[in-house]
Assembly symmetry: C2
């Protein structure tokens, strides 16, 4: 079971690392971070680089493809090499997955055509413009395509996937070992729940104008 996590300049770190932390604990899994070229890839905030151990060409047939989002997801949507890799990898993948605006990158590659999918709540229009109707759900399964909403939702996606792949007990064990027993002190994690004035302030702000990723 090979899991490939795609990195590109400007990715959002938790989009990649949240599901990675859980999925990579799957017994027998081999996880590899990939990018156009092997080496450090800087994130959206500019304050952290993750190392891609392999170039895309070295990992042509992963079992799971994981695409993080980022405010600069356009860079990956418009990149012919990344798009070609996604299309090819998707031909043989068992699961093709994304977090946040990673679904825009998959949609740009055409692999979500006619599928149910989700994305960051601020990117619904962008997903729609790519011909994919966003759902309001946090994690969406449609066949082998699994998409998650904004940033932190990839952790929930990973638990769902672990259950499907390894069974409930494997998923529960990994939830226990990562102590994923969320107790946020606020209940503002979705536009339905956050104070209306905060939601209103952010609605309509373009991705590239967000101060620090999303």
């Amino acid at each position: 079971m090979q899991i490939a996590v795609l990195l590109y300049q400007g990715f959002t770190t938790l989009d990649a690392v949240g599901p990675y932390e859980l999925l990579a604990r799957l017994p027998g899994a081999e996880t590899v971070f990939v990018a156009k070229e092997a080496g450090p890839v800087r994130n959206d905030q500019g304050s952290l680089a993750l190392v891609a151990d392999k170039a895309l060409a070295e990992v042509p047939r992963p079992d799971i493809v994981l695409v993080p989002g980022g405010p600069d997801s356009r860079a990956a949507m418009d990149d012919p090499e990344i798009q070609a890799w996604l299309r090819t990898a998707d031909e043989t993948s068992t699961w093709t997955t994304s977090v946040c605006t990673g679904s825009l990158i998959l949609a740009a590659a055409g692999v979500l055509d006619g599928r149910r999918a989700t994305t960051h709540w601020l990117a619904h229009e962008e997903l729609r413009a790519l011909g994919v109707e966003p759902t309001g759900e946090r994690v969406v399964f449609d066949g082998k395509y699994v998409t998650a909403a904004g940033v932190s939702s990839g952790i929930d996606m990973a638990l769902h996937l672990l259950g499907r792949i390894g069974g409930d007990e494997t998923a529960q064990t990994i939830q226990l070992l990562t102590e994923y027993d969320p107790q946020p002190p606020y209940d503002a994690g979705s536009p339905d729940k956050a104070p209306a004035e905060i939601v209103a302030r952010w609605r309509g702000v373009k991705a590239e104008d967000l101060p620090q990723g999303r």
Copy 2:
């Protein structure tokens, strides 16, 4: 407001990246990943390296110190250079924080003496052996010392901290932008909630014998 995230060989990635993703969005914050030497630092699972942009000596007085845990936390507990940096940084820090077994590293440095603190549920005995009585809470504030339980709990810690530093609206805004509206498909994230047979299987397993971090 300078935030320093400590990296060392064998750290657990989500311990560092979970709170980083939220804290670094604090308006005016500058975040820097630090290690004994600048450069890539490999994690506990071996499949990912994060780049430390600065060496410890270059970041002597961060406002927030964040120490992730790892199954190899002993490496940081026994490292004189890391321990000396922690003690010095703690002298001027506004907040000294840890996630998971990061509290063992702080305890080894002596900065948690007489404090309330927490750690990963499997490391309570180890914390106690260092003279710090663990609480069963997910996030513990004691003055400027903030410790979180296992791995994913650092995200909750970050939200608490954001509220204290930037106020409720700042914390809620960052919760909304990272869509932290947890919906795990299982309720197995703590030893009180997970199936008893899974908990029993892991209790008493030593950190270094865990298959893939914790």
